[in-house]
Every structure is written in structure tokens, then in C-alpha cells.
């Protein structure tokens, strides 16, 4: 079995797992805990990983179970799921159903979902870059750090940085063109 390098593992997959989780639990701290637990569970069951799926898919399958467990815990704290029906006479029951089926304030749901998929597609494409390239690209593009700060951190010149950014953008554009834009 190959030796697992936890540093590389976290650098490669943590952001993907984070974005996957954050839209589902809507709470940063909970998301961070779930991801931490996912990696630990992954480490424990590493020998069960058969390599049939990609490593990321396998981690996501663990994460999904963690998310479900999380919701189970919340629900059991609350007792049964509650449904409030405010209508008094039976005739208006249909109205209630209709109003609750189409939520006029949830116009953005579809958009959010598409953006989430796009985000995950971008992060998946980033896995194809080497760690340093991906790290620098993310710091610059997603976290919005200064060129100067990144150069200092990695001990590279600005022109080095722009070469790395250029390669990353090119590879990313190619990958997205294949997997997303079409």
C-alpha cells in the first residue's frame, strides 16, 4: 500500500470537500468539523479503498454519510420533524399545499445549484495541477492575495508568479472547456 502523505491529501481535496459541505450544512464550523472527521475516517478505512472510484469520490462518499449523520443528530434533538398548518377549515387545504410547494422566494435555488456544480468542476480541474501551482493559483484567484505577499511566501519573483498563473489558467480553461462549458 502506498504511504499516505496527509499534507498532500488535505491540500488536494480539502477545498473541494469544503465547498461541497458548505452549501449543504450552511454553517462554516459544522462544515469544518465534518471535513476533519471525513479525513480521519478516510485514514482509518484507507485499506478498504479499492481504487475503483477516484480518491475524491471515495472521500465524498464518506462525507455524505457524515452530513446525513449530522442532520439525524439535529433532528433527534428536536424530536420529530414539525409541520405547521395554519389553516383552520378543510376547504383551504389545497391552498396550503400550493403555497408551500412553490416557494416564490426561492427563485435562486436553481442558480445556486448550478453555481455549486461549476465551483466543484473548477476545483476538480485544479486537482490536475501540481500542488504548488494549485496553491498559488488559489491564493491569488480565490483568496485574492497580493502578488507581493505570495512571492514572499513562496520565495519566487513576480515574473515566476505570472508564469505559474498563466499555466494554471491555461490548463484550467482547457479542462473546463472539456468538462463544463460544452
Amino acid at each position: 500500500m502506498e504511504v499516505l502523505n496527509p499534507d498532500l491529501w488535505v491540500d488536494k481535496y480539502a477545498d473541494y470537500l469544503y465547498n461541497y459541505t458548505i452549501v449543504r450544512v450552511n454553517d462554516r464550523e459544522v462544515a469544518q468539523d465534518l471535513i476533519s472527521e471525513t479525513f480521519l475516517a478516510g485514514l482509518k478505512s484507507k485499506k478498504n479503498f479499492k481504487g475503483e472510484a477516484s480518491e475524491r469520490t471515495w472521500l465524498i462518499s464518506i462525507l455524505k454519510r457524515k452530513i446525513i449523520d449530522h442532520y439525524r443528530k439535529i433532528n433527534s434533538n428536536k424530536g420529530k420533524a414539525e409541520v405547521h398548518i395554519n389553516y383552520r377549515n378543510e376547504d383551504s387545504e389545497g391552498d396550503w399545499l400550493e403555497e408551500n410547494a412553490s416557494d416564490p422566494f426561492d427563485r435562486n435555488a436553481e442558480n445556486t445549484m448550478e453555481n455549486e456544480e461549476l465551483g466543484l468542476a473548477i476545483l476538480a480541474c485544479l486537482e490536475k495541477l501540481n500542488e504548488k501551482q494549485a496553491e498559488i493559483f488559489k491564493l491569488k484567484t480565490i483568496d485574492g492575495f497580493d502578488t507581493e505577499a505570495i512571492c514572499k511566501e513562496f520565495n519566487i519573483s513576480p515574473s515566476n508568479l505570472w508564469v505559474i498563473i498563466h499555466r494554471a489558467r491555461k490548463s484550467l480553461a482547457d479542462c473546463l472547456e472539456k468538462n463544463w462549458f460544452n
Partner: protein, 83 residues
């Protein structure tokens, strides 16, 4: 002062990259525009580059904060040591 009005493709592409991060000067952007008038290869690159910037913006990706990453790495290292 450097008074050349025609960028090489490598320079044009560099200005194009920088302008995705608002780090190109006004003058450089002007030179890029001139270059794009006659260079279809860089026009294609510029189009794709802007599309990528837009996609990243729309996707609203977040990164897991670095201290959290370090924490997870530390926990993994401990778990491995105890295995």
C-alpha cells in the same frame, strides 16, 4: 520611456493575465487592445481568459481557511502515529 506600441504575443498574454486581477496598467491595457486588433490567436486567449474569470466569480468558491487545514493535517499525523 519605452515607446513601443506593438506587443509580442507573450507580452500581450501577460498583460491579459494581469488584467484579470486588475493589475495591468492603463497603458498596458491600451497596448493589449491594439495587439488584439490584429492578432486572432491572442483574441482567442483573451476571450477564454475572461470567460474563466467570470466562471470563477460566479461559482463563488471558498477555500477552507489555512489554520483549519493545518489542524486537520495535525490530527491526521497524530492518528497515523497512533495506528
Amino acid at each position: 520611456m519605452n515607446m513601443k506600441f506593438f506587443l509580442k504575443c507573450t507580452e500581450a498574454v501577460n498583460v491579459c493575465d494581469k488584467s484579470q486581477y486588475e493589475e495591468a496598467t492603463f497603458f498596458d491595457k491600451l497596448l493589449l487592445r491594439i495587439h488584439l486588433l490584429y492578432c486572432s490567436l491572442c483574441r482567442g486567449y483573451s476571450f477564454r481568459n475572461r470567460k474563466l474569470t467570470q466562471a470563477i466569480k460566479e461559482s463563488d468558491i471558498k477555500t477552507l481557511p489555512d489554520d483549519q487545514k493545518q489542524l486537520i493535517k495535525e490530527r491526521l499525523r497524530q492518528a497515523m502515529a497512533n495506528q
